[in-house]
């Protein structure tokens, strides 16, 4: 009887431990919501990417549809190259979609905001987004502002 109770207790222990792991996976991490593995990759060139990082979200109309995969610098064109993975279910982005780098909130993280265009053709894996707008650097804004102020006087 003792071993039977022991076995039941151990069974509960293992079940609770695995349940905790499942809870961590589904409720705490993004595994349940968005899987990064299946998707297609598009790239975009920016003059300045600000504080964008690998794993930063890619959003379309505020909805998270992908993430930044790789960041590199093109020395020939002096531009930053961003590769992003977009979920397979979002496969109807027009080729003239624009990519901007936004900041969520004043101090929040930076993300790529996509704005769909009007073309008939859709972006496919390996395509390049041509219309881009760089990140807004607060220091530069303040610099411009101060410069304008001093010139006005």
């Amino acid at each position: 009887m003792y071993t039977r109770m022991t076995e039941i207790a151990v069974g509960c222990f293992v079940a609770v431990g695995l349940a905790a792991l499942v809870m961590l996976a589904m409720k705490v991490s993004n595994l349940g919501a968005f899987s990064d593995t299946d998707g297609y990759t598009v790239s975009a060139r920016f003059e300045n990417i600000g504080g964008l990082k690998v794993r930063s979200p890619v959003r379309l109309g505020g909805v998270r549809i992908g993430r930044v995969n790789a960041i590199s610098y093109d020395q020939d064109r002096y531009e930053a190259v961003i590769e992003m993975t977009i979920g397979n279910s979002y496969d109807r982005l027009p080729v003239d979609t624009a990519a901007n780098i936004f900041t969520s909130g004043l101090l929040g993280e930076q993300y790529i905001g996509l704005e769909p265009g009007a073309e008939e053709d859709y972006l496919a894996s390996g395509d390049v987004i041509e219309l881009t707008q760089s990140a807004i650097i607060i220091e530069q804004l303040i610099g411009h502002f101060l410069l304008n102020e001093s010139q006005a006087e």
């Binding site: 071993t3 022991t6 076995e7 207790a9 151990v10 509960c12 222990f13 293992v14 609770v16 431990g17 695995l18 905790a20 792991l21 809870m23 961590l24 996976a25 409720k27 705490v28 991490s29 993004n30 595994l31 349940g32 919501a33 990082k53 690998v54 794993r55 979200p57 998270r64 909130g105 101090l107």
Partner: protein
Amino acid sequence: MFEPIRLIGEAALRALARLGQATLFIVQVIAGIPPLLRRFSLVITQLYEVGVLSIAIIAVSALAVGMVLGLQMFYTLRDFGSEQILGQVVALSLVRELGPVLTGLLFAGRAGSALTAEIGLMKATEQLSSMEMMAVDPIKRVVAPRFLAGILSMPLLAAMFSAVGIIGGYLVGVGMLGVDSGAFWSLMQANVDFYDDILNGMIKSLVFGIIITWIAVFEGYDAKPTAEGVSRATMRTVVHSAFAVLAFDFILTALMFGGS
């Protein structure tokens, strides 16, 4: 004049020899694991002793840690007007660091010390040598099931610790301090990655489990067969495990999260 240097050298050589002994010992133990799969009831009993009986202290500590973390982080984050990220902060610190490390420390104190004392006492009362007399290998029969049970228990306990801790943070943050429940979970989900954060935390806890149980069974098996020897071995288990967990946590953190 050379006496202090000689003493350092002697201590270093002794430590190295002990490490070698421990390594040879663990090789024997690991060799004893495959036959266990046919007699898994031995492991089940040890899983009960090592794992099930540790749940209470793990759950209570996790709840307390999660609640305190939620409380303290809330007051700091509120100054920046970003108390919504409370869930993310609590979850990341628990999953990456506090879960595995605190579980490791508690596990060393609760289960590691018990393992050492049990094996040490078996040796002191000559149960181990009588097993050898009956042609039963005490390493296969006594040590290997305990080692395997310890390794299996640690990741499960660490997962429980993180989950319960996050619930504790939720209770305090959302229930008591009025953080928005949706923001708490959604920001957590947006910023905690399964592979980078949770799986790495699990790997950490597995490594800690191996180290702690290794130290525990070796110290027990190697203890002087006297009351004093067993007590010293138990003490060494807890102290060495704690040091090893903290040191390896630093190394693993640097390896896992240092890159990005």
